[in-house]
């Protein structure tokens, strides 16, 4: 087994400034990488290659984004400004965003060429950026740019994107909304309660893409076991029917119970479980071809452990994942709401998927 980790020192320049939740230090991979390098269990299991990416070209960016939107971003890149109030753009930031897209493309190439078995990009995931909009800390959609690239270069017909960040990846969804060639399964906190306010289960795709967007929206206080239930009840049957040729995971440890920015109550082990679930799925469906994008953290303490959980999960290898704090014991039980939400998604998607 060989894995690749794609990373560039310049990722740290993706910094929204003091007072903003996303700072450059959260793109510092040093501790995470040494934790993984020095883990004896992982060392026995896999070799690790570290790869430095180069930025995606204008042409690659324009395969997804409109020239008008890119023109706007380039002006921000020169002069600074903002896309939305939550996404101020400093001079040079678009160049860093292109580096993320280049990193994703590099990761995909390594996996498709079988240079490595699994590949991780330790960087941003611009899942809130659509063809001509940005926001939610995202300038361009590096995931979509990469998918378009692998489809073109390797002739892939079916790519599965599973987005487990706590906010719906409405940018990625909108880009592939009418395209059955990309199945977007997105698990997130109920958009009635959190940004971006879209990603409801009745939003299933449009035209030829109907059924190829699966929005699994779960209530605040969702736990690890609730997410696992959704994976088994919804994702497994749909993925088995779809038979993807490549699995792309997009997520980070943002749903960890210690983070204040949302109301999911996941643990590091829960993060491990998600990744190991998809690792198995990739082995049985697409020759193990899997890329993981994201993996940074909005908390310095969680960052290295979160990445360890991600990597060891994808390798389906149990390692020690000590929680930095104890889980609070007085969390409301939302089990029955979760079951209702899952049943609702199944009911909606039975129209499109036979195994549900």
């Amino acid at each position: 087994m060989r894995i690749g980790i794609v990373y560039h020192e310049d990722f740290k320049k993706y910094d929204f400034g003091p007072g903003h939740p996303l700072r450059g230090i959260y793109m510092n991979g040093d501790l995470a990488f040494s934790l993984i390098r020095n883990n004896r269990i992982l060392k026995n299991k896999t070799g690790i290659d570290f790869i430095k990416p180069s930025p995606a070209s204008d042409q690659e960016v324009l395969s997804i984004h409109t020239k008008e939107y890119v023109g706007f971003l380039k002006r921000l890149n020169r002069e600074g400004g903002s896309i939305t109030p939550d996404t101020p753009v400093t001079v040079g930031m678009y160049d860093v965003a292109r580096l993320f897209a280049g990193a994703d493309i590099e990761a995909a190439t390594l996996v498709m060429d079988k240079t490595v078995n699994k590949c991780f990009v330790f960087g941003m995931m611009g899942h809130h950026a659509g063809a001509d909009f940005g926001g939610g800390f995202c300038l361009i959609n590096d995931i979509a740019i990469m998918i378009e690239y692998v489809r073109r270069e390797y002739g892939l017909k079916r790519v599965l994107v599973f987005d487990y960040a706590v906010n719906a990846g409405h940018g990625t969804i909108s880009i592939f909304y009418d395209d059955p060639g990309v199945l977007c399964i997105d698990i997130h906190q109920d958009p009635l309660t959190i940004y971006p306010g879209t990603g409801f289960p009745e939003q299933v795709g449009r035209g030829n893409g109907q059924g190829y967007t699966v929005n699994i929206s779960l209530p605040p206080y969702t736990l690890d076991r609730h997410i696992l239930l959704a994976l088994n009840e919804i994702v497994a049957p749909i993925a088995n029917e779809y038979k993807p040729e490549l699995i792309v995971l997009a997520g980070l440890n943002g749903g960890h119970f210690t983070l204040q920015i949302n109301q999911f109550m996941q643990t590091l082990h829960g993060l491990w479980e998600i990744n190991s679930f998809f690792s198995e799925l990739s082995e049985s469906l697409c020759d193990g071809k899997l890329i993981h994008i994201g993996g940074f953290s909005l908390d310095s303490k969680l960052l290295p452990l979160g990445f360890l959980a991600t990597v060891s999960g994808v390798l389906d290898t149990q390692v020690e994942l000590p929680e930095p704090f104890d889980m609070p014991s007085n969390i409301p039980d939302v089990g029955s709401e979760v079951k209702e939400s899952i049943e609702n998604v199944k009911k909606i998607h039975r129209r499109y998927w036979r195994y549900l």
Binding site: E68, G71, F72, D132, G197, E202, Q203
Partner: protein, 355 residues
Amino acid sequence: MKTAIIYDENFRKYDFGPNHPFRGDRYKHVTQVFSYEPIAEKSSDIFFVKPKPAADEQIRAVHGADYIDFIESLNENGGALTLDTPIKPGLYPVVKLFAGANILAGRLIAEDICKRVVVLGLGGHHAGYDFGGGFCMVNDIAIMIEYLMHNYDIKRIMVIDYDAHCGEGTQDIFYRSADVLCLDFHQDPKTLFPGKGFTYQIGLGNGKGYTVNMAFPPGSSDKDYLLAFDEICLPIATKFQPEVIICNGGLDAHFLDPLSHLNLTLNGYFKLMSAISSLSRKLCDGKLILINGGGYNPKVVPLGWIAMISGMLEIEDIDIQEPTEPPEYSEVISKEVREMIQELKMIHKPYWEGL
């Protein structure tokens, strides 16, 4: 030229409850509007028509099946589309009536019964293919447009949306279409709901250039709107050659509106609507539909309806007192507006010759 007014008492049931900006009693002003003297003088040219609710398949022509299932379940059990759009049981039939009213407006024109229609209805421009919100469940305008294109030999429809909020639902539905041109005046989405409708958002695929987002900074005035109309709308509309013009009105750009921060006056609404009216004569034989959109100052709503309808009826001048003195014109803001217009021209030049 005859003008039809479409109205139904049941519109008043579109009410989101106390403390919500959208109340059903906004429709109580109908009598006041039509007893305004210059309008009353034209009463022989005006006739009132009552709508029927839109049929399910007319709504299905625009919205996703799973979204319709969802709103049907909300209509039964109550709930919410978004936090700003709570749905109580029984609201959906009222929405269908709004959609039916618009369809009727379109039919009156397509069948040459009259050339001008005012719908004292809703304008659900925040509802997209499979989403709602912003007080909208379904997009009654898009439903009318689909109906017209499907049932009549109409190929090019132009929507002028001057509600203060961007009509992102209408845009979403026709974003890839070159048959529907959406010209949208609104407050800069960086500063207002729905956070969409930036100048660089121009449509996708075949629809590139057919969405024109005029994003005005807070404080923009009549003069700024009329300048954008002359500089942007006139050349693009002339090139597009619409067969009918649909106005999604909205009084929330008025300086006294509590939800937005634009500085239009009643006279500005009158002038804008007069300009649109004369444009419709030039381009499409006067075929023009006005659908009343938002507007959340109860004092302004009836006066604004008078101003818009007077403009549409080509009344020469109006004399309506503003409830309070309008704010002063700002040269600083106007400069920003001129920059926005220049930027928009640069963006749309490749799609519209002569801009």
